[in-house]
Amino acid sequence: MNFSDMQTEVFARLEESSSSPRFFSLAQVKEALNDGLEEISDATEWFERNRAVPHVADQLYYDLTTSLGSDQILTPKHAFNNQTNRWLEFKSARDLDNERLEWETVTGEEEKCLLRGLWWFGIFPHSSTATGSFTLYYTAIPPSMVEDADSPNFPEEYQYGLIEYAIGDLRAQERNYDDALRHFNEYLRYEQGLAHYVQGRVSRDRMNYFRG
């Protein structure tokens, strides 16, 4: 289902003409659909990306809302040292305090990483020069749909959730709150389904060795 199909579906369910809509404009429908895409992506974290972050000399913490080229990051998942080809270990500042005195002054190839607040990503040891990089794997909000052929890259059966969200959003705008709530609740079922799909990708084929 592409962006154009979604718009047609929303207009049909609002009993509006898609070619010459009277009550809701095309721009409003597009915005509502993209709002739904943002909402379901935030809730399910289905969009996974990675990007190399160049070292900055003597910098321990990197602001992930600016270092990744956009502020769309949701959760950092993995980090990789591109020089040593090793994954970084996740640590807390307290762990590093316990392991080594004055760890913030140590420079070298990063082996461990930590997160402060939601977006300040620390590496230990940090680089003393502006050469090299580490790659961050993270979940993010996908780009908005713009062209008619654009389509969210998750299974089509969950894409109907965007339509429910958009109708709920538009009904709320005309203060038809009962109808809005009904569609929002319908949307939540799609959101839950996609969340289970995303989280359950490897559960079937996995051997449960820990509990037998």
Binding site: D35, E38, E39, D42, A43, Y61, T65, D71, Q72, I73, L74, T75, P76, E89, F90, K91, S92, A93, R94, D95, D97, N98, E99, R100, L101, E102, E104, T105, L114, L115, R116, G117, L118, W119, W120, I141, D169, A172, Q173, E174, R175, Y177, D178, A180, L181, F184, N185
Partner: protein, 294 residues
């Protein structure tokens, strides 16, 4: 590009179908947005900052905060002091800053007066909670003043290298280093740093931007919709208010979990023990010290 206060307020009005502000005024919506902004920062601790609070001489040039506006042009505020020697504490009330024996930095840099360290430091207004403090790049402990009183009856005036700090005696947003620094920071020596969670950049005018990424301004929108719709009077709809409240709570919960997720990914070795540096034992009395033991 971060969204501005007025842009998010307009989004709320559109969602509520009240672009003419017939039911909910723009001022009311903006108040809810600012409220949500502050709550999110406090609940999720998403904003973080590190800031130097280096050891320094107790230099001050005014005795009351209101005097700041009367400083001569070109002068900078160096600090507030209320006494110049410890014995004066017997005679004054409400003193926090001091003692101070000079009113200009050149007096101490040229060694015209003996060094007196600054014990109490103002913390940033945006501070929510200190996560970690370091002196000379080593973590130091937060302490309770009652704990310190039992350990060292003269901690207030004792000087040396700061080994801890207290925040529970001199007023809100004041940090007292213990012991009082005996030397100023120079270069990378004697540096004192606090790492803290903070409020977002202040938003007051229409054109001010939220520090949150655009994605998260939707939670502010949900909160404002919820507060508008639950308000008694025209436009009240408890069902939809509950929906928006649920979306807001779910969003904040997600932000919180994202932070926790990182900690859950930390490597833990079952049956192993982490490498720890031991600290020298504190001079602490036994727990039953002074009691009659039967």
């Amino acid at each position: 590009m971060a969204k501005t206060l007025s842009a998010v307020a307009t989004e709320v009005q559109v969602r509520l179908g009240d672009t003419a502000a017939a039911v909910w005024t723009a001022a009311e919506i903006k108040r809810y947005l600012k409220e949500a902004y502050a709550i999110i920062a406090a609940r999720t601790e998403c904003f973080w900052k590190e800031e130097a609070l280096n050891d320094a001489a107790s230099t001050a040039n005014i005795t009351q905060p209101w005097e700041e506006q009367y400083l001569p042009t070109g002068s900078t505020l160096l600090g507030v002091f209320t006494y110049t020697a410890d014995w004066e504490l017997d005679y004054i009330e409400g003193s926090v800053y001091g003692p101070t024996n000079h009113t200009a930095t050149w007096e101490i840099t040229n060694s015209y007066v003996p060094f007196i360290g600054k014990g109490a430091y103002d913390l940033p207004d945006a501070l929510i909670q200190i996560e970690r403090a370091t002196w000379d790049n080593r973590r130091i402990d937060p302490l309770f003043s009652s704990e310190l009183e039992n350990l060292d009856a003269q901690y207030h005036t004792r000087t040396g290298s700061p080994q801890g700090y207290i925040m529970d005696k001199d007023g809100l947003r004041i940090l007292r280093k213990v012991p009082v620094p005996s030397a100023s920071a120079s270069g990378s020596d004697n540096n004192f740093k606090i790492e803290y969670t903070r409020k977002g950049t202040a938003v007051s005018a229409d054109g001010d931007s939220f520090e949150l990424p655009n994605r998260y301004t939707k939670y502010l929108r949900h909160y404002a919709c919820y507060r508008c719709l639950e308000r008694e009077g025209l436009g009240q709809d408890m069902g939809l208010a509950e929906f928006y409240r649920g979306r807001y709570e779910a969003g904040v919960g997600r932000m919180f979990r994202r932070k926790q997720l990182f900690n859950q990914r930390r490597n833990v070795v079952m049956g192993g023990s982490s490498e720890r540096l031991s600290r020298p034992p504190l001079a602490r009395m036994p727990f039953h010290y002074g009691r009659v033991v039967q």
